[in-house]
């Protein structure tokens, strides 16, 4: 009888343990998935910029600096490795872009260009998507980081080396400026 009870307890413990492990793996995958969502949109933004610059070049003959700042920020952002580095580089890119968009205001011909207008809608939407994807990434990271710090899941997390994930920060100022990407005409 005692053996049976003992066996029962052991089975329960194992089931409990496996449950925690599986939920941790699930949460970590959710974080990864959320990150890949951001990554896709960041890449999309990088892809849009050469077209944008190319279209603008013909009109903005006196704005070489602004344009090259955007191009440089883009290549730096593309080269960034870790999540934190990416955050910093993307912040710079956002700032360069919003500066560029302010300058665009002085070029009504460019603003009337169909090609440019559709690029601008794409860029606005991509920035929105980055912001939304960042929200769900932050949610996922929060949930996961809490889980691996809290008892009893922290025991399992320690045994199997679940590490806390980094948040992806794009500076708020840049975020607030980002909508300026699209402009009035």
């Amino acid at each position: 009888m005692a053996a049976l009870i003992f066996l029962g307890v052991v089975v329960l413990a194992v089931v409990f343990f496996v449950g925690i492990y599986n939920s941790l793996v699930g949460l970590r995958n959710r974080v990864k998935n959320a990150w890949s969502q951001i990554d896709v949109q960041l890449k999309r933004r990088h892809d849009l910029i050469p077209n944008l610059v190319e279209t603008a070049k013909g009109y903005m003959t006196h704005e070489r600096e602004t344009l090259s700042a955007v191009t440089e920020a883009r290549s730096r952002a593309m080269g960034a490795g870790s999540v934190a580095d990416k955050g910093a580089a993307e912040t710079q890119l956002s700032q360069a872009l919003s500066k560029f968009m302010v300058v665009v205001e002085n070029y009504p011909d460019l603003k009337a260009n169909q090609n440019f207008l559709s690029l601008q809608e794409e860029l606005t939407s991509t920035e929105n998507k980055i912001a939304f994807a960042r929200q769900s990434y932050t949610d996922a990271v929060n949930f996961y980081n809490n889980k691996i710090e809290m008892f009893p899941s922290n025991v399992v997390a320690g045994m199997f080396n679940f590490r806390p994930e980094t948040f992806f920060e794009i500076e708020d100022a840049a975020q607030r400026e980002a909508p300026k990407v699209s402009f009035t005409r």
Binding site: Q41, A112, N115, L117, E121, S136, S182, T184
Partner: protein
């Protein structure tokens, strides 16, 4: 925070489902007992369950498709309206849907929208052409966020299951009551069962059955309506939470409610699914309506003073109603932090005149339906239906004969997608590309046919694509009669 909400919704849906199922079974039992005598209750239960199973099977397997077809919704690709697609994708990401909802456009002037699909993995969002004309980017985002919330919260699934259950209850009650009415309570079966029971328990049983058959459907309907209304509030709250911009949805609801147009594609079955009840329906604060009064919804959204979170919505709701009322589970509110409202999209300032926009969207609908466009020398845009077979068409305004470029028509009939290029007039902000230079009408057809581009707006910037795809610009002061493409050196006449 959405996870708690979804989980709570699921629990509630399940409870309601069980409640309605119990009602259905009880109804079946008593009707069976009353009409068939001893042991008829079990048969009644079996019949009631069978009715329900058949009806749910029909709605689960055919439901979403039938609804879309009933609403005359046409599937579109991203080229037709890139902005709409972008917004849907934004909301898909914000709500964390597992897959992109399919996008449909309904060829109607009345502004409205709905979502369908039993699972978030396989869902659809349909908007009317009128909605695209009337709303700016932020408002359209609000509407799409509301529909996305319905998908995220599994409202469609719930409403479908509940309405099937409601339908079964109504059907069984109706059949029973009609039967009672026409047979005057004295059918052979009824009399024989009375005899076999010796006149004992028959009378009270039949009274219970009648009462249930009368009250059951009313009760079930009220339950269904109240939950449906609650889900509308919830979808509004979630939409604001997703977009972080209450004014967008509020503006959209205002514009939709101010539209005097009736949505022809809606009927009793599809009406509960739209963002705003399309059939007018019972007025104001009626408890027998699937949608909350729209003015109240707007007032709540306009009254959100503490950011875009759930708590802010809850407080605004309490203020508008004058009493505290719970729309969402406490667990979801607790986990929800303060959410700042974002700034308006600058697009708002760039309001196109509604006439222009309407024309664009009407062209867009024709493009979806496979129409081709031909610009006559007098400036009239001739719309050719996909089944148009003639080699030339007489302009209805000036009577000129215009040659129909065959390739254009067939191409349009096959791929409505390629259409963005020609739909895009220079006033349209979201056309996927500039218009193409067209072969001159009346010219010899063939590779060397002279190209022609008709200016749409003089003294304004315009751009169009050469036949080789190269982008050509016309400045406001351009006055020459032709232009050479720097890429392929083809000459396009400018008219």
């Amino acid at each position: 925070m959405f996870w708690e909400l979804i989980a709570a919704n699921r629990r509630k849906s399940f409870l309601l489902f069980v409640g309605m199922a119990a009602l259905l079974v009880t109804l079946g039992y008593f009707i069976g007992e009353a009409t068939m005598g001893e042991g008829g209750g079990n048969i009644g239960i079996i019949v009631a369950t069978a009715v329900w199973v058949i009806m749910s099977a029909a709605s689960v397997f055919g439901g979403p498709d039938i609804v879309l077809r009933m609403s005359r919704a046409k599937p579109v690709t991203s080229d037709v309206h890139p902005q709409l697609f972008n917004i849907v994708e934004e909301m898909k990401i914000a709500a964390g849907l597992p897959a992109m909802p399919k996008v449909y456009i309904i060829d109607e002037r009345a502004p409205n929208a709905f979502a369908t699909g039993l699972k978030p993995e396989n869902s659809s969002i349909a908007v009317t052409a009128g909605l695209l004309t009337k709303l700016n980017r932020d408002e359209l985002q609000g509407v799409i966020a509301h529909e996305t919330s319905h998908i995220m919260n599994r409202d469609v699934q719930f409403l479908t299951l509940a309405s099937v259950m409601l339908g079964s209850i109504v059907l069984i009650s109706q059949v029973f009551l009609r039967g009672m009415w026409y047979s005057g309570g004295s059918s052979k079966r009824w009399r024989s069962s009375k005899k076999s029971e010796g006149g004992g328990g028959g009378a009270p049983l039949i009274i219970i059955a009648i009462v249930l058959a009368i009250l059951g459907p009313i009760f079930a309907r009220l339950l269904y309506f109240s939950i449906s209304r609650q889900r509308e509030y919830l979808a509004d709250a979630c939409a604001v939470r997703l977009t972080r911009y209450p004014a967008g949805l509020a503006g959209a609801l205002e514009k939709i409610s101010q539209s005097p147009l009736q949505l022809d594609a809606a009927n009793q079955v599809t009406a509960p699914m739209y963002i705003v009840a399309p059939l007018g329906g019972p007025k104001a604060t009626s408890w027998a309506s699937t949608h909350p009064p729209i003015q109240e919804r707007i007032a709540i959204l306009r009254g959100m003073s503490e950011g875009a979170g759930f708590l802010s919505y809850q407080h605004a709701l309490a203020k508008v109603r004058g009493k505290p009322s719970m729309i969402m589970p406490a667990s979801a509110i607790k986990k929800d932090e303060r959410v700042a409202v974002r700034e308006a999209h600058p697009d708002v300032a760039r309001e196109q005149s509604e006439k222009d926009k309407t024309r664009d969207v009407m062209d867009l609908m024709r493009a979806v339906n496979g129409f081709a466009f031909l610009l006559c020398a007098c400036g009239l845009k001739i719309k050719l239906p996909p089944e148009f077979e003639e080699a030339s068409v007489k302009c209805p305004r000036c009577g000129r004969d215009n040659e129909v470029p065959r390739a254009q028509v067939s191409e349009f009939a096959e791929v409505a997608a390629a259409v963005g290029a020609i739909v895009g007039t220079p006033t349209k902000p979201d056309a996927s590309g500039p218009p193409f230079a067209q072969p001159a009408p009346g010219g010899s057809s063939g590779a060397d046919a002279p190209l022609e581009y008709r200016r749409r707006a003089h003294k304004k910037w315009e751009s169009f694509s050469c036949a080789c795809g190269h982008l050509l610009q016309l400045s406001p002061v351009f006055s020459a009669s032709q232009m050479k493409c720097p890429n392929c050196s083809r000459i396009t006449r400018i008219v």
